[in-house]
């Protein structure tokens, strides 16, 4: 009887057991999956920024380590030498120029910030009044009040975040050099072992694409950072010639915002212009500052000198992508996300371009098919 169904009673029992246990474990895995992702999220929460920063730093320091390596110095020792030289250089710079009084400057900015916003809002509302006189159909939108509340809430959050970010900064000072050390020493080994996982048939292609992409990436990251650094220094020098306060902070803002193409320079210019307008008035110095930001830093130094030398045209992004990257980055990681969103999208862009080029020139079947897919 039992043979008629093709299975004995014991087999049916085993099948039943296996099926129920499979379903039960499926449900268990499914319900615990959400907790696993939550666990993963909390475990990796603070690591994104230090890892990103140490990747960037290791890209910047790699040529120096490479140089020492070619002089037959042990790689670990070479990295320590580079670290030592770098810290000595920064220390020397601090000794010669004297550290810019960051703390005092931030305290002063805290005191001055409301003044600047109020003044800026006053300017804005006076312009608004003029506009409304000309075009009476524009309703009184009460932009001034809106701006005031948002700026106050922004300032409040900055105040609240400052001690927390100080702690974060301390942990960054510890983690970034550590991660950078290992990235500098072992990145080649790590990448080689990762690449060796690819199947034999695609190994050559993957290796070639990796070599191209990493070369382009190193170029791109070094170029961008160097560009931001030079722009920051140029703006610092330009602003130092005037009586404007907070020149170093403004230069840092301008340099960092220069990492974001198209929109960044404009945003980076705004605080400087507002402070100049409020403190110095609409005089010659204001025009000089505008000139420094716009003409000298952006047009002459950046567009005519730095971009042709440092940045390759291949990595240019369409403005639409830039805006999307800024919005999405801002949603994910706030102001930091806005700054790093565009470089990350550019990196993805470079990777895609490289792979596409590889496919076009290296496609093994293009001998048999015409470009329109017809068999030759």
């Amino acid at each position: 009887m039992s043979n008629q169904g093709g299975m004995s009673r014991a087999q049916v029992a085993v099948l039943y057991l296996v099926l129920t246990s499979a379903i039960a474990s499926g449900i268990a895995i499914y319900s615990s999956a959400s907790t696993v992702t939550v666990l993963l999220k909390t475990a990796t929460a603070g690591l994104f920024l230090p890892i990103l920063l140490s990747l960037i730093v290791s890209f910047l320091l790699d040529p120096a380590v490479q140089f020492l390596d070619s002089k037959k110095i042990n790689r670990s020792l070479g990295i320590f030498i580079v670290y030592f030289l770098l810290s000595a250089f920064i220390g020397l710079l601090m000794l010669i120029i004297g550290p810019p009084n960051w703390e005092g400057m931030i305290l002063a900015l805290k005191a001055d910030f409301p003044r600047y916003t109020i003044q800026a809002i006053e300017y804005l509302s006076s312009w608004l009044a003029v506009v409304q006189q000309q075009f009476p159909f524009i309703k009184d939108y009460n932009i001034a009040e809106n701006l005031r509340t948002t700026s106050q809430s922004f300032f409040g959050s900055v105040l609240k975040e400052t001690p927390r970010s100080a702690i974060r900064f301390g942990s960054l000072l510890l983690l970034v050099p550590l991660f950078t050390f290992f990235f500098l020493r072992d990145s080649r080994r790590i990448m080689r072992s990762l690449i060796s996982l690819t199947p034999n048939r695609y190994f050559e292609m993957v290796l070639d694409i990796y070599a191209h992409v990493s070369l382009q990436l190193a170029h791109f990251i070094r170029g961008r950072i160097l560009e931001a650094l030079i722009i920051g220094i140029v703006i610092w020098m330009g602003l130092s010639m005037t009586d404007i306060h907070y020149a170093p902070i403004l230069a840092v803002i301008a340099g960092a915002s220069n990492l974001v193409p198209y929109i960044g320079p404009i945003i980076g210019m705004l605080p400087g212009l507002i402070i100049a307008l409020v403190d110095l008035g609409m005089g010659g110095q204001f025009w000089w500052i505008l000139c420094v930001y716009l003409l000298i830093a952006q047009i002459i130094v950046d567009n005519f000198i730095l971009i042709p030398i440092l940045i390759s045209k291949a990595s240019n992004l369409h403005p639409l992508w830039v805006i999307l990257a800024i919005v999405m980055g801002g949603k994910l990681y706030g102001v930091l996300g806005m700054i790093i969103g565009v470089p990350i999208v550019s990196i993805i862009n470079i990777t895609i371009i490289e792979i596409r080029q590889y496919r076009r020139t290296f496609n093994p079947y293009n001998r048999y098919f015409s470009s329109r897919g017809k068999m030759l």
Binding site: N200, D208, P364
Partner: protein
């Protein structure tokens, strides 16, 4: 050798290393220990099953392979089917045409038994040239020597074939 004696005269540990194997290749026999260590760092060891394609004719190649163990069959495809050129064994290498520039493979390569290949690829070679110019130059000179030998053999064979052809044509003309 008798397995018994083989066990007593066991191969020394050094002879099992990748660097030692690379040193036995004719292209790299003039390299010293440091250079072999560098070479060991830039090659990739790949394991193949029996009857696995290494590359097919017309693929754009990016490097050469040396056979550490196993067997590789080199063949062309034509109207009659597969046309075997040669079967390569341990210590031989192939695909060196694609090392310096991306050229299409002029034949297909397939393993006939489980095989371990040691691959030397263009991107790694270029990186080595940037990082360690002197040893990389020696490696390239060694490769160049072997390729020159092959070219010389080719041209000698070509001359002989031309002579043979001329003689054959004369004979047919005389008849």
């Amino acid at each position: 050798m008798n397995p018994f004696w083989h066990n007593i005269f066991r191969i020394s540990r050094e002879e099992l290393t990748l660097a030692y194997f690379l040193g036995t290749l004719p292209a790299f026999k003039n390299l010293d220990k440091g250079e072999l260590a560098l070479l060991e760092n830039i090659v990739h060891v790949r394991n193949y099953l029996a009857d696995e394609m290494v590359f097919s004719e017309g693929d754009i190649g990016s490097g050469m392979y040396a056979i550490r163990s196993g067997q590789v069959q080199i063949y062309n495809l034509d109207e009659q089917g597969e046309n075997e050129q040669v079967v390569l064994k341990t210590g031989d290498f192939f695909g060196e045409v694609a090392l310096t520039a991306s050229r299409p493979r002029c034949a297909s390569a397939r393993t006939t038994e489980p095989t371990v290949l040691v691959g030397l690829f263009r991107s790694d070679m270029l990186e080595a040239v940037r990082r360690h110019p002197v040893p990389a130059a020696k490696i390239l000179v060694g490769l160049n020597r072997v390729i020159s030998d092959r070219l010389l053999q080719c041209s000698i064979q070509l001359q002989q074939l031309k002579k043979q052809l001329a003689i054959d044509q004369e004979q047919t003309a005389n008849e």
